[in-house]
Symmetry: C2
């Protein structure tokens, strides 16, 4: 089984103030998934997508996951929760519809219907149903979603697609995790500042990302730090992942068909 | 806590070939719920709605819940499952949006994300999350949805709003169940054939529905038979329900505010 992450920055116009799809990317990626599944040796796939401009503007506006000083702020956040849930659900419909257009039996699985977090980490999520969908050849499609949080000071949280991947990865042990991002992989230096920078081939520990020049605290670009920490935890239990550029045609397809090393592999070094 | 059912025949144009909302009813009912919740003594509400023209045409076309003779038919039904799921999700979005328009913190809870049936009856559905939404003052909105079924001969089933009500009713013990239908209540005689027929005031057993003239097997109109059997089971554990006409203005509001006996009460006789 493969888990494929589609970053919100790939399938939506992330900098848009209002929810906006990147139709071109979404259509191309759905086509690639369909083409790969005709040829691939595996039969099972879970798709997890981010929220992009469908979620972040609302989550930020209503500060979902922030502390709740009084009843009025609680009510404001609760309203924001409902609005955010609706918006990301619409994105999920767009993704599922596009996948179905290419014959993929995409079934929506709504995290806010079965996941509970505590201090923003999943503490309750029964994956039985997802396994059953896989067993019947469906492609479950999950996504970043607001969820209830058991920490009384915040009561709600935004569950990211990355955390979903980490949780499913640990529990269902996929053969591979493929993360379709808007960058070519993991860099030691910011590729926007250093145009010649190339992505690291393999990350086996956080030390691999320390600068060759010996500088400390090298920024891992694009909020990759937390993501890599989670992926290294997966690597430790034997689940290998790869971060690649889903904005570049055919990379998702090639990776789904078994090719490795297109972007940055996260796996323990032998 | 109150469970309010909105029949698919009330909020959609049930006889439409394509999914079609009954915007007028939906808007009016959302307004009534909002007005009632400002005055009501209770603070907790679950809304469950049917699928109407958003679900039945697809469920029928693909015969979801029917037996599966071969792989081809399985694939056809699986496709139908995905299409039906998407359509009823769209109806649910319309319902939630309308409720939110009137300030109700409506949160969507997707049955196909947490319910499994066996031979078309729920055998697995964790209601913890629904209780938590209630505790935080959300209004969970569930709906008729296709779900996976553990019976290998059918593999999928259509979970009706009525079965959801029955299951939640038994497990969360609401103070009341209100069923907004397109008829005034339960009749002994078909009111379309007998224009002077009046709905029964109270049903305490199936015997109450036998004709006063002593005829056997009187048809209980509108597919009410199965519904009443389920509601009588609720009555036996002390959960009273009422079937009323949600197409008539103000009845939902009056019932939510505590009035009883507007339509037909289903409760054990003393």
């Amino acid at each position: 089984m493969i888990i494929l992450k589609l970053g919100g920055s790939v399938i939506t116009r992330k900098d848009s103030i209002d929810p906006a799809l990147d139709n071109e990317n979404l259509n191309r990626i759905a086509k690639e998934i369909s083409e790969a599944s005709k040829n691939a040796r595996y039969g099972e796939l879970i798709v997890v997508h981010g929220a992009g401009s469908f979620g972040h503007p609302y989550a930020k506006k209503y500060d979902i996951g922030g502390s709740i000083p009084d009843k009025k702020e609680f009510q404001r956040k609760r309203k924001g929760f409902c609005i955010t849930q609706e918006a990301v659900k619409n994105l999920n419909s767009a993704v599922c519809n596009e996948l179905r257009k290419y014959g993929i039996p995409a079934v929506s699985v709504q995290p806010s219907s079965f996941v509970i977090t505590k201090n923003k980490r999943i503490i309750r999520a029964d994956l039985t149903l997802i396994q059953k969908y896989l067993d019947s050849g469906f492609v479950p499609v999950l996504y970043g979603d607001p969820v209830l949080d058991e920490d009384e000071t915040i009561k709600m949280a935004i569950l990211s697609g990355d955390q979903i991947i980490s949780y499913i990865g640990k529990n269902l042990k996929p053969d591979r995790v493929i993360l379709g991002s808007d960058v070519n992989g993991v860099y030691k230096k910011d590729p926007k500042k250093y145009p010649n920078a190339k992505p690291v081939k393999v990350v086996g520990s956080m030390e691999d990302l320390e600068s060759a020049e010996g500088t400390q605290n090298v920024d891992v670009t694009g909020g990759m730090g937390g993501k890599i920490t989670e992926l290294l935890e997966l690597a430790e239990i034997g689940v290998e992942s790869e971060i690649l550029n889903a904005g570049t045609p055919d990379l998702i397809k090639r990776a789904l068909m078994g090719e490795k090393g297109i972007g940055t592999l996260i796996k323990l070094q032998n």
